[in-house]
Symmetry: C2
Subunit: 186 residues, 2 copies
DNA sequence: GTCTATACGACGATAGAC
DNA sequence: GTCTATCGTCGTATAGAC
């Protein structure tokens, strides 16, 4: 049994980077091999289900990590605005100040398979739910909290699209800055 | 000279629909032929530059039409809030209440060629500029007006991403409803 | 578990008849 | 201008040695 040249975590990491950058369809196996440092057939040994399985595992892992790391401060017992500030800083790192696209966007085009589509939907819902919980703590009804959470997430996703298309990352910075106002009410 | 089975405008229309739905990379020539009702080689007669030329012409035409039709009410001399309301209704039709994705998003992944990328950037800038002009009319400085315009466009683009991923189109409706507040100041 | 080599279908694109 | 037929390449995926 030859030693693993690339750990499972690192493999997912590098695939995640690739899918975020070019999306699902444009990520060819040649690029996947180059990005991971493995040969095509070695990758199939890790993902017998091929590209669809890679996409699904990336989507699932990314949703998990986003929840565990980026959104983690929301579950602390610091003051609400401090928690939101911490999440904003995490988001700035996660999206590299707007330079990196979001998997929810880039992997939801083409035909990445049902499993991936479900994983993306689940990740989006979890994010929105986490934001909505904070809004509720600030006194909003569950309906209003959901709307505020969706507005906040949409603002971030849209700013990332703008950054990719126009190169201007300032809207992303402002979307993060507005986060407290949006979630806590204007 | 055989008669044109599909007019040039209709050809662009159908290609636009396809690219909005699946993006650039996932739009294969087989799908393009099916969507347009022409054979692959007939399409090459119209677009000798192949898929890249199709993408570029679609991006350019879409930017033009968006400016001429969707954003047109902004250039009338009705009261500002009425103009914005008219644009919101146009946007609702253009994006079919959130059911259709935006070309700025779906065609900015993969490698659609330099011409397409430039056309998308130009279209995004024109949209933002049009919104910013309205904000300036409402008394905002040019810096603030730009920020408001970008916030408004990002809100719409993000809501479209959310709609595609989660299936929930309500954030899009709310993004349109917020349009006056955002552009005219809170 | 990784590699080289290869199968083979789908892809973008072209040739040439009508 | 449209079609049928076809080209070469690149795509995903496998086989089998080490």
């Amino acid at each position: 049994m030859a030693p693993r040249l690339v750990s499972s975590d690192e493999l997912i990491d590098r695939l995640t980077m690739l899918f975020r950058r070019v999306g699902y369809e444009a990520a060819s196996l040649v690029e996947i091999a180059a990005a991971t440092g493995l040969q095509k057939s070695s990758i199939y040994h890790r993902f017998p289900g091929g590209k669809e399985q890679m996409a699904q595992e990336v989507a699932e892992a990314s949703g998990r990590r986003f929840s565990e790391h980026v959104l983690a401060p929301l579950r602390s017992n610091a003051p609400v605005d401090e928690r939101i500030g911490a999440v904003a800083r995490n988001l700035d790192l996660f999206y590299e100040a707007g330079a990196r696209s979001c998997l929810l966007d880039t992997m939801s085009l083409g035909d990445p398979g049902a499993g991936t589509t479900e994983a993306l939907a689940a990740a989006a819902s979890a994010w929105i739910r986490a934001f909505a919980t904070v809004a509720r703590e600030a006194g909003a009804t569950s309906t209003v909290a959901l709307a505020r959470a969706q507005e906040a997430v949409a603002g971030i996703e849209g700013a990332l699209v703008l950054a990719r298309v126009t190169g201007d990352k300032r809207p992303f910075a402002r979307a993060l800055k507005r986060l407290p106002e949006i979630l806590l009410g204007h």
